[in-house]
Amino acid sequence: GGGGGGEEEKKKEDEKKEDTGKEKTEAKEKASGGSPGQIAVEGSSTVLPITQGAAEAFNQQNPDVQITVGGAGTGDGFEAFCSGDTQISDASRPIKDEEVQACQENGIEFVEIPVALDGLTVVVNPQNDFAENITLDQLRTLWEPAAEGQITTWNQVNSEWPEEQINLYGPGTESGTFDFFTERVNGEEGESRTDYQASEDDNVLVQGVSGDPNALGYFGFGYFEQNQQRLKALAVDTVAPSTETIQSGEYPLSRPLFIYVSTQALEENSSVEEFVNFYLENLNQFVEQAQYVPLSDQGLQEARERLNNRTTGTAPEDAVGGEKGKAEEETKAKEETK
């Protein structure tokens, strides 16, 4: 290796070396619990900063525990999780049926714990001086599959807006953000017009919207917060996105982020249990560091209960957070009125 830190650093390293030396052999057995002293996390890169914060803080108190956190995506994360390679999986969406099945086949049970909220923010270029608010309906008009190639000017969305071209920006189809947005706005996951500029990387979308006066896009709240001078957020159904409105569930486009913990690991691997407890105890600190919105007190309470009770399986949708269920009902109600 190279680099090498100060005296202390080296000492620390040496200790670690010994540890790993002993544990290496066992660690490679595919015991889903993993061996004490080692924790592997894989999954969504959206949730990664939260888990990373937890791991970092945890490691300061327990320097001997080796934690790895990967960001390969929710799907890959579940694959590794369900085949026993990891003990915790980060997810930006609830686990899907086929993934639950895969876990069951390998005898893996898990606890689903919501850890934070993210508000999808609808943004326009700051040069845009006419748009301030957009309704879910208008969003749907704009984003539904039928809009493809049809809805191309602002005034088609809202007749008060000028007849100028509208350029759309959004996350790639493979992100939890996209899934959530399409489901919430268009009623079905993946249902969306396809002729918009996409990127997996929200910073790229920030670049796109901030460089295009005719732009409208949506992405995570954190990216808006950090780029407020370059972007303008629209209120959705007259609710402007903010920590408070997202937390309270008032803002219609907020979604939960999760971690999934293997129950075997919780039982067999003391480090995992310690870590997850630590994680939830200091959750809000990590969430804020990672630029997400903390759960409401109630939500936090529920999350801790799920862990303590080892509530396995995935929760019915509306049990996750009151917010989600509420928004869902609204959408459905609207559908009916149509």
């Binding site: 290796g1 190279g2 680099g3 090498g4 830190g5 100060g6 650093e9 390293e13 670690k16 070396k17 790993t20 290496k24 490679k28 595919k30 592997a40 894989e42 890169s45 990664l48 900063p49 888990t51 990373q52 914060g53 791991a55 970092e56 490691n59 525990v65 080796q66 934690i67 790895t68 956190v69 990967g70 960001g71 390969a72 890959d76 590794a80 390679d85 990387d201 929200d202 910073n203 995570g220 954190g222 990216y223 917060e225 950090q226 780029n227 990590f286 560091q289 990672a290 630029q291």
Partner: protein
């Protein structure tokens, strides 16, 4: 057979050009030559200018952020505390192992194909196959590595370990080394081989003593290009399980690991601008590592360069 030489015959003396059938517009040719020499110079400079712009841009953001603490710290969710230590170590491990695995393998394959293999359909198939492998997107190599090195051979490689990553990267860059080395071998005149054989040398003796030293510059060019690619690859490493964040420094080939490009990529996609600066600093570190690694190859190449 009538040529214009007769018609245009003028005194042989005097102006050298412009007489006989030779329409030697030397001045036009020279003008072209001058244009051409400017052209090739400009072409060489284009790359350099872009490089300079890129480096200046990165250095402007990255250098202020760069410090010893940055290099020796672990990454953190707090941008200012964030460091690159485990990623740097991981990349050094990866690069070292990848070089050890791929260079001999690549040169060996090139030597076999160019010097030993009979010129039959099988060899041709392998040849086409290798250049085809060069065009397979890196992420597919990631899927291959996941299937074979992580899952199938997990018992030996330790699953999501540095070895698995290095093996995957090796396969990815192998075609570049093979193709560059083969071309270098191909340019060696047959007379060199004949001279060796005629002394009763075996094929391998000729290869080792004469062909390899002569082909080395080309092989090293391939190595430089290949390692340059390897050090910057993100996608396949993510797939074969490189971590984005680890709380410890990798200390053996079987360790879990992170790598510079993954760290950089992860910083780049954070919302906080302070992370963008860390990413720039990380890129500076990566470029320095790259230069240091390549400098060995560059030095060797300059040493062995010939002009036949």
């Amino acid at each position: 057979m009538a040529t214009k030489s007769g018609a245009q015959k003028n005194a042989r003396k005097g102006e050298p050009e412009g007489e006989g059938v030779f329409k030697t517009s030397v001045s036009a040719r020279h003008a072209l030559d001058r244009v051409f020499s400017v052209l090739v110079f400009v072409a060489a400079m284009i790359g350099l200018v872009v490089l300079a712009v890129l480096l200046v841009d990165i250095a402007r953001d990255g250098l202020p952020r760069l410090s010893w603490a940055f290099i020796t710290s672990f990454p953190s969710v707090i941008p200012q505390n964030s460091g690159i230590y485990p990623a740097l170590l991981g990349s050094l491990w990866l690069l070292g192992l990848t070089a050890i695995l791929s260079v001999p393998l690549g040169i060996g394959a090139a030597v076999y194909l160019e010097e030993y293999a009979p010129d039959n359909w099988l060899t041709r198939l392998i040849e086409v196959n290798i250049s085809n492998l060069a065009g397979v997107p890196s992420i597919i190599y990631g899927l291959l590595g996941l299937g074979i090195f992580v899952n199938l051979l997990g018992g030996i490689t330790g699953g999501q370990s540095i070895v698995s990553g290095a093996l995957t990267l090796s396969l990815l860059i192998l075609p570049v080394i093979i193709i560059a080395t083969r071309e270098a071998l191909r340019t060696i005149p047959g007379a060199v081989r004949e001279g060796g054989y005629a002394l009763g040398a075996t094929r391998w003796e000729v290869i080792r003593s004469h062909l390899l030293p002569m082909a080395l510059p080309g092989a090293l060019t391939g190595t430089i290009l290949a390692l340059s690619r390897a050090i910057g690859e993100t996608a396949p490493l993510i797939v074969v399980g490189a971590a984005t964040y680890i709380t410890f420094a990798p200390d053996s080939p079987l360790s879990s690991y992170s790598a510079l490009p993954i760290q950089i990529y992860s910083w780049v996609s954070q919302p906080q601008p302070a992370f963008q600066l860390a990413a720039a600093a990380g890129i500076v570190v990566l470029m320095v590592v790259l230069l240091l690694t390549n400098s060995v190859a560059i030095w060797l190449r300059n040493k062995y360069q010939r002009r036949g």
